[in-house]
Subunit: 152 residues, 2 copies
């Protein structure tokens, strides 16, 4: 585990990141791995790279992308003007699941949020992923809220 | 209802917006209405105003602030590079609750997300607010996710 590096994704990492998103029962239905990648992925990468409050992160082990997540830093007036860190699109490579990498990656992300002055970290997890709920509970996340989505 | 205007909050609206956040069983414990406002509120207002992907919105009826919410537009690679709209810190003035203003305000916010190219709108609502859950369900939001928070 000590060799893992967490860093901002480069454009060259994008296929690997999308592949991780797709390697999952829910993601498989949502993503499109046809190469060259759908330009919408590149546009999203560029929008993230251009925004100081967005970071697409990869966990790198040697020359392998072993995990990914997105971090958003969100200012807000509520809770006395608290910044929130938000984590989305968390995936660990199938071959690395159960190794502690996910825990290491989330703790790294929480530390990044703390370094940016956030007093709260939030995320939502699909109710059909009970393992994920246990994982986040073990990391101190409290399921205090309903996570609502509306397609438009 | 036809006279309500939704617009970005000005600094002059900040006390009214914070007052709305505080006028609520949960908000009362979280906010600080001592005047002059805690500078953290002003800093948060300025961070929102400086970020093209953040909007603090007020619902204005004549010279009264009748509601508030925050909109965040979040780029991401998941779901084929979809932008998400996120709604936070929704409050309707106590005197206006039950008038349909909340519904009008959320539909306005969803339309703003659509205009920005978002394909999904998301929010979390505290599990201790069953009325809010029914309200959002009636607006087409699906409680598909757990909303997790960790204080740091």
């Amino acid at each position: 585990m000590t060799d893992i590096v967490f860093r901002d994704a480069a454009l060259a990492d994008l296929v690997a990141s999308v592949s991780l998103l797709a390697d999952d029962a829910l993601g498989r239905q949502r993503e499109n791995l046809t190469l060259p990648l759908d330009p919408a992925y590149v546009a999203a990468f560029e929008a993230i790279a251009a925004d100081a409050n967005q970071r697409l992160i990869v966990a790198v082990d040697g020359d392998t992308i072993a995990g990914t997540l997105q971090l958003s830093f969100i200012p807000g007036i509520s809770r006395r003007g608290a910044w929130r860190g938000q984590i989305e699109a968390v995936r660990i490579a199938a071959s690395r699941r159960g190794t502690g990498l996910g825990r290491q990656m989330i703790e790294w992300a929480v530390a990044q949020c703390a370094a940016r002055g956030c007093s709260l970290v939030q995320l939502t997890t699909d109710k059909t992923r009970p393992d994920a709920q246990r994982f986040y509970a073990s990391l101190g996340f409290v399921a205090s809220h309903e996570g609502l989505k509306r397609q438009i």
